[in-house]
Symmetry: C2
């Protein structure tokens, strides 16, 4: 019997070296690149915090390193020495280099080059290694920081984090585009969203949020859609109407952006991405007014339109930028019939709804609204749409037992990051995207 | 066009009333209970922070309230008044009560009674309303706090949070018990764990963690297993061996327990649950030594045993408590053949492995270990088990391009909470459990 004493070897990280001039340190990381010159050579060693430069004087070591493939894993002992021209102002001298794990092949892309020339299919086919490129990696460090900001705002506002089932008996939106599967002899579906569950949980916790996968069996192959993505969802009770949700969403996006700004300075610099300010009050336009404005400006006849086309969203993005110096704009009041059955109509104009989309740089970032909260309203809404209430019994029971006015939103995590970094394809900001053609790696 | 000004009504929460004696406040919540006495009545109003007592003098209001069903949603305006005998030392007087949303039926259980007498199937069939019981709700506030603690330790230790796909092309462990589904004409599976993906991501971020659903098609109906659960996973590179993972897991559990202690005092008091201390060094036993000790103590012949039976785990729990005053004990060195193909053998005794289970109160809480990190070792391990490497190509490529020694663990969130609160059935600590018989609500 032995207690689990662990003497972790005192590994230093590349980002810590600046303060340790004169010390002998142990670094561990990947052979990012090796540059052999006539009388001196440079080893660039990459770890999770950056890249360290190691000066190789010894010809045998240089010879050995020149035989190794990129991405071999090394341990380096050496002395931290000030060198203004080295990255971070320091380099490692008098090194001893040990191979911890040798790479067997050269990577399919040159990970040490600042730009990536490979096409997306190559990047995705070899994701386990191409994600090691500092630019690719930076996207997912931003994702990590955005999640910290997301949860932080919600936890501070009294929300409870929940995990709801992804195996469900009824399609959330009652529509097609669900993945069915056999569940011990019964038919089950993969959840299209946690919508029904997060609403039920308003009765328990008032304010809830979830971060989890959702599944859409849409057979489209576009740059904006995936068949599996991570949904940021929240739902809150005791609202006046959808405007309370919009204000909370504004605070959440501000928290996400602030976390990215404060925690990902090196990544943002590398990507040359600016995190824009989120205005205290995001400009907001009713759907009917938006159509009228766009029609007046462009000469299009938009009467009878039931949704915004991408060109219209782009126009509104320009408008918000021009008139309100805002990268964000809310559109509210979408036609009730175009939104899901649980959408709350406007009290005075039931053909419009207490719903909203948040546009960022002219593209949809989040969608939400106030929900119905009375049982009879649900039965009416389902029947009015020709939907059978039976598969929704588990959900509908919540509304028999007292539910406050409530609302919430859903927001695709990969899409938020794509918008922020300016990626044109959502696959760029997804570790292992799933689409109609891709199920591996 | 209007900006989205929101004037949220100044709602007070029940837990804030102690500091507001003399003020007029607005409360909103559920009719938890109404007690009508001969000359005065008491309304108990429940919100997300607790229960407020409201004194009803007015006979008309009392009459109206007596007609309402439990769980109706109310707004109450009134004056906060000190009253030593009331819960929290305050009550609301001179109230105005408005019905915000009326309950249509009486709940299937009495939510205001301190104990729950209903059986589990009733609780689960009516989960949207039975979860409102303060005892049920408390389990999931503990879950919420545990997650905060989990992420906090990992983020501070330089881990990156990742989201990996749940639709996969190969069964993680290569075994049966996966849910297959049709994915646009191809066969896909629901991920049994993020194991393969988190390992690949060690090459990118060194240290990663994930919180997400996993799916097991096991056709068993036990109190310890579910077909869908939330897995807390992590994986870390540049370890010496499994002991570095064990030390990190110790810190993580300590962080989870500390968060529950500090953030859930009222819930822990309600449940009469004590959060035990986590020792700095958790006692640790090798599998072979554990068998020998148990055999010597019980007289059983355990030679040739390849795993621990539940009774043996219980014995070890007692032993750790008695000999080390610890509710926790590690068992290491499980036979290599009983662990998954990616398990790293002990360097000097390859029939045993660099693996561990963490037992808490004699029950398994987490399982983990060091993994193989060389491509050739994977090919050898798969072939040695008669498994085809082909479906694992996407995963195996990571090991061709340089992977450091690494390891990690997986831990079922619902199981952790069940152990802490002493629930005997894991369904008790799952919002909407999925088992062989249950797919709703």
């Amino acid at each position: 019997m032995s207690l689990n004493e662990v003497v972790t070897p005192a590994r230093s990280l590349s980002a810590e070296l600046q303060d340790r001039t004169g010390e002998v340190v142990t670094l561990q990381g990947w052979l990012h690149h090796f540059r052999r010159l006539s009388n001196v050579s440079f080893l660039l060693l990459r770890d999770r915090t950056g890249v360290a430069q190691i000066v190789i004087d010894d010809p045998d070591t240089a010879e050995r390193l020149s035989m190794l493939k990129h991405e071999s894993v090394l341990t380096v002992n050496g002395t931290v020495t000030a060198e203004p021209q080295a990255p971070g102002g320091v380099e490692i001298k008098q090194p001893t280099v040990t191979v911890l794990s040798e790479a067997l092949e050269e990577p399919p892309i040159e990970l040490y080059k600042p730009t990536i020339r490979a096409q997306l299919p190559t990047l995705l086919d070899y994701a386990p290694v191409t994600l090691r490129h500092p630019r690719r990696r930076a996207y997912f460090r931003l994702t990590h920081a955005a999640l910290i900001g997301y949860r932080s705002v919600l936890v501070d506002a009294g929300f409870t984090e929940i995990q709801t089932p992804k195996l469900v008996a009824a399609a959330t939106e009652g529509g097609a585009n669900v993945f069915p599967l056999d569940y011990f002899g019964r038919r089950a579906f993969l959840a299209q969203s946690p919508q029904l569950y997060k609403q039920m949980m308003v009765g328990v916790f008032e304010r809830v949020f979830e971060v989890g996968p959702v599944f859409r069996a849409e057979p489209h192959d576009t740059t904006r859609h995936l068949n599996e993505y991570v949904s940021l969802d929240m739902e809150m009770g005791f609202i006046r109407d959808h405007r309370d949700v919009m204000q909370m969403l504004r605070n959440i996006v501000a928290g996400m952006f602030a976390a990215m700004s404060s925690q990902c300075r090196p990544e943002l610099d590398l990507l040359q991405v600016e995190i824009p300010p989120v205005p205290e009050q995001i400009p907001s336009l009713h759907f009917a007014d938006a159509l009228r404005m766009i029609g007046a400006a462009t000469g299009e006849d938009l009467s009878g339109e039931q949704d915004l086309a991408p060109a219209h969203e782009a126009w509104l993005g320009e408008w918000a930028k021009r008139e309100h110096q805002s990268e964000f704009v809310y559109v509210t009041g979408f036609p009730t019939q175009k939104r899901a059955f649980y959408t709350h109509p406007e009290p005075d104009r039931p053909e419009y709804s207490n719903s909203f989309d948040l546009l960022f740089r002219g593209l949809e970032l989040a969608t939400g609204g106030q929900r119905l909260h009375r049982y009879d309203d649900y039965i009416g809404a389902l029947e009015g749409r020709g939907m059978d209430p039976e598969p929704f019994q588990g959900y509908l029971q919540a509304f028999k037992f007292g539910m406050p006015p409530h609302g919430g939103f859903g927001m695709g995590l990969e899409r938020v990051i794509a918008r922020v970094v300016g990626a044109t394809n959502i696959r760029d900001t997804t570790l292992f995207p799933r689409d109609i053609n891709r199920l591996t790696p």
